[in-house]
Symmetry: C2
Subunit: 199 residues, 2 copies
């Protein structure tokens, strides 16, 4: 865990972050409380406030840590430029399948986006940046794939990127409600078929 800007934190603080992340992904930001964490970890609310002065601070720390993990994945993907673009895309999509395997997780920023107007501005800005960064990254991969003759794009890469990203977010959302494990799988299948329709 020696990521660039990841802070050194105590074990308790990490436990709080882990739990808060899970609670936001499953129940949402408005619907979880310090008491929930207090009960689950067997520490007092005051103790949580010691580590994270306000709920906003906790939310920010959760999102920043989450974003750092994705950024690390972007770097890891870029490291091996000999890979086909489809393999890079698969690597990117992996975490979505990870969430889809659980009965109740969606993307953290997808969950936050569902109640964006109820969030403190610091969180809003971070979700915004997350969405833009992912769509920008996807655009890059699509351009690479098109340039290498691996992908066939029916529209500009940036527009296709928007479709892919939105479809992944939406698929997780629908999957959790309907409980149908095939929701994400089917969507990814169709997306990949359409990318390689010309070859």
């Amino acid at each position: 865990m020696t990521t660039t800007s990841s802070k050194q934190r105590s074990g308790t603080a990490e436990q709080i972050l882990d739990l808060a992340e899970m609670l936001i992904q499953t129940r949402g930001y408005s619907a979880f409380s310090y008491q929930d964490i207090s009960d689950a970890l067997g520490i007092t609310k005051a103790s949580i406030h010691y580590h994270f002065a306000s709920k906003t601070d906790l939310g920010i720390a959760v999102v920043d840590r989450y974003v750092e993990r994705f950024e690390a994945a972007f770097v890891a993907i870029a490291e091996d430029q000999s890979q086909p673009s489809m393999a890079m895309l698969d690597f990117y999509i992996e975490p979505y399948f990870g969430y889809a395997k659980t009965p109740d997780h969606v993307c953290l920023c997808g969950a936050l986006a569902g109640e964006i107007l109820a969030l403190p501005p610091e969180l809003r800005a971070r979700v915004d940046r997350f969405f833009r960064a992912h769509q920008t990254w996807l655009t890059g991969i699509l351009k690479r794939g098109a340039a290498r003759g691996e992908f066939t794009l029916v529209a500009p890469a940036s527009k296709v990127a928007r479709l892919i990203f939105g479809a992944l977010q939406g698929a997780l959302l629908v999957k959790r409600t309907t409980g149908d494990a095939a929701q994400l799988r089917d969507v990814v299948t169709v997306l990949k078929l359409e990318l390689s329709a010309g070859s």
Copy 2:
């Protein structure tokens, strides 16, 4: 507690429903309160409880009314069977563009899905039914379009339907956060291009 079809309701009850619907679509179910409605309409919380005994009852009424509107649209689309399938699809997508025009609305059931685990079971079941019904309807339209030679499907209709539905939900979610009006438009453009790629 008769949850059959559209019931006779007083003007105040309709105002409460309108506002609750807007608040859920913008802020989320957990993040809105009877006090919010009380303040906005200038009536007391007790008065809201007179019309809707519990928050759950209010949520159910909001969703049922919303679902009825969509069902009416399905019926309206089916009425003119001479239309091309793409026109039917456009008619279906129209409400999504309506929400995208506002700065802060997403699909009601999309908003509820974001915090599905925090919802009373009656609401969960309704969101589930909504998602399944829409994907089933989309599947039907896609099959019709394919049979009439209007659509080219790269995968079974049911899978393409999942992509389209998820992409629409996701696009609204992302659009609200980034504020980029082109998000939904771009996604719909690409989807339509892919449906008519063969013709």
